[in-house]
Symmetry: C2
Subunit: 429 residues, 2 copies
């Protein structure tokens, strides 16, 4: 087995230039939600070059929209294909899904970038551009890992399903569609940007909108009205208390160094229409963090009951309860035991390749991975070469060395997980 891993290493180290060129081509395509097609075409060509079975389809909204975990603002997914490439094993081994999303968030204000967001410039060992870290760099590592296996003449026993999905940044409809299409495996690796740490738990999250009511009056006689702005101060305090309560339950030592493992972030506030009137409505929008083992539905239930209890503090809320709706984005949390063989196998290959102990951490954000664990009950781990701190930011980049290391660690893990079909065995049949 060590010899195979040496071959893998050699392939990867001699194909750095090609890997960078591929990442640059992917980066050049501005694959924001609705515009993924050209980037997916590049992926398809890569898979075809490897002679993999390729499955390309546009998710059908009507097949997804009744699923409780479906969320999307798009009316349909025309022009936005999912792509799966299958490296079929010879049989007798465990299978693995390696999953990465092809969609990127918009680049934002151009003038905040010092680099061309779609230029893919190489500087100081980094490739710059929107999506390099989140997560075309991770996808490139996956493709490089598969190529290294393929071109090294190694036959795996188990199947490997490479998934290049749409819509991760907008709620996960792409991965949901892949699961509902029937793809399953014994394990999942998602190379989202963990900066080479093993993220064994991921915070889930969902967006809420809370409407706080008041009663209008003229500002000069404001005591004749009820200010929704004043009432929203009570609501904000009450939400902060819930955040404290929910976080006090998190005992996992992985969260020991994290001030607020599952934050409730009220991100926007908007209320009132006129400076000299009493505001009769304030709308709060926020992100509700969900614990790795928690069900989304239970978290929603707790929030709504908590807000109902405001009426015990202030009878205004008895007659005018805060209205809550869940909208926009949602990421299901994920979790795997640190002792799980998938984690330990990845860990050993990390030690082998990087010659050090990997850091295990709990992620402050969710990925599509939660869908695999919560819907399909597949063990899943997040491990990738990008860095959260530059994801969604101007001058996003990825370090080429980390991309190569990740490719090697994942390739070696695939050998161990799926098993290598040895020539001798083959010959002996």
């Amino acid at each position: 087995m060590e010899a195979y891993k040496q071959t893998i290493r050699q392939y990867i180290r001699t194909h750095e230039r090609e890997a960078v060129a591929l990442l640059q081509r992917l980066t050049a395509e501005r694959s924001v939600s609705g515009a993924e097609k050209r980037a997916q075409q590049i992926v398809i060509e890569q898979l075809q070059d490897m002679n993999l079975e390729v499955d390309v389809w546009e998710p059908a909204r009507e097949e997804l929209e009744h699923h409780p975990y479906f969320i999307s603002a798009r009316p349909d997914f025309h022009g936005s294909p999912n792509v799966v490439g299958i490296l079929r094993g010879v049989g007798g081994g465990r299978s693995m899904i390696v999953n990465g999303h092809i969609d990127v968030v918009p680049e934002g204000e151009r003038k905040q970038w010092t680099q061309d967001p779609y230029g893919g410039k190489v500087e100081n060992g980094r490739v710059y551009g929107r999506g390099t870290t989140d997560m075309k760099g991770g996808n490139t590592a996956l493709l490089l890992a598969l190529e290294a296996i393929r071109h090294s003449g190694i036959s795996l026993k188990g199947d490997v399903y490479f998934q290049s999905v749409i819509e991760e940044e907008s709620g996960g409809a792409g991965t949901l569609s892949a699961i509902l299409r029937g793809y399953k495996a014994d394990g999942v690796i998602i190379p989202e940007p963990t900066n080479m740490k093993l993220f064994v738990k991921q915070q889930g999250s969902m967006w809420f909108r809370a409407k706080v009511k008041g009663r209008v009056a003229h500002g000069g006689t404001r005591y004749e009205g009820v200010s929704a702005i004043e009432k929203s101060m009570l609501v904000l305090e009450h939400i902060r208390d819930l955040e404290q309560l929910r976080n006090s339950r998190i005992m996992d030592p992985l969260y020991a160094g994290i001030p607020i493992p599952i934050p409730i972030n009220v991100g926007t506030i908007q209320g009132g229409t006129w400076p000299s009137s009493v505001a009769d409505l304030v709308i709060l929008e926020g992100r509700f963090g969900v614990a790795p083992h928690e069900r989304m539905e239970d978290a929603q239930q707790e929030f709504m009951e908590w807000l109902q209890a405001l009426s015990l503090q202030d009878e205004w809320f008895a007659a005018h309860p805060v209205e809550v709706e869940w909208f926009g984005a949602r990421w299901v949390p994920g979790s795997i035991e640190a002792e799980h063989e998938l984690v330990q196998m990845l860990r050993r290959n990390f030690q082998l390749v990087a010659a050090q102990e990997p850091i295990m951490e709990a992620a402050p954000w969710g990925t599509d991975g939660g869908l695999f664990t919560q819907i399909a009950n597949i063990p899943m781990i997040v491990f990738g070469p990008g860095e959260t701190k530059v994801a969604h930011y101007p001058d996003e980049y990825i370090e080429i060395e980390k991309l190569l290391l990740a490719a090697e660690i994942i390739a070696c893990t695939l050998l161990d997980w799926c098993g290598v079909h040895l020539e001798e065995e083959h010959g002996g049949k």
Copy 2:
């Protein structure tokens, strides 16, 4: 004198129909800011019919804009004339300005009206429509009072200046322009809607905008940022403390029954751009109540110093102070001693005409009157037939009987204040 007042009464009581028709014509013109011209044309015709000297001019922004009390969002006042009609006295008496604004606030959502806002329908002794109470009904009472004097063959000793001004609802540029044009007198009556009460004090007010700063971060790691929404909770509490302090200083028994004589109303709040980001900016807009005797500048100063003191509570504010600007509308407060002859004269005529004691009160809102007292140092009282509770609201109306009573009380007060030139005196010259 009693005979003259009887003549006045008779004139007014026999011209109810004409007064209502005039109010209907004025109401039919939607004289919102920038569209006052046609309503002013009706006023001009009325003044010309009475053979008054008429002065019509468009305020020149360049002459106003350096005045500390000037405020307007308009680039100019083209098409928005001020109108003054002068009932010249024969000499030897006190002069009076009677002032009313011709501009109205927009009607708002039509479907909230059961009446046509510009129809002027008469029903149950009321005339309905936008501006009937605020304050075309008051203006009609003034014109009726002048007509009653004019057509009764009464000569006053002092001059009466009837002013129909623009822009009261947007900060008082019309009245400011009239003052700067040189109009002055020994007293001012403004028939804003007091529901027949004598408003001897008026709360001033001005609009502020406060910017509360934070530091952006991802909602999943919100502890890495500083929420401007959380910081704005401290700011709102701090503003409430200032409101309490400022109101604790108001000792005037006129305010005994008013819960908050000079409120600070935060009317709008807006902050954050994304539910799952930490908000880095919250903007509060509000109306700052100013006490009748207070200078606007002193009130501003107190607010700004108070907000600076937030840094003592939370060092975030030391490095990121709340920024305050004063914008939009402003009404200067007004005040007159209850013992002042103008008040007492109006009171006696109220007793005479209405056969009861008038109610004296402090107004929760300012008028253009504050400009007369604070800039021109002219004693001023607010007294009119409309009702605050329907001003700026759907289905605004005025009671015709109150309009007629106000016209009679004001006409009689003009006779007393300016003095009547008796025929015998005239003959004796």
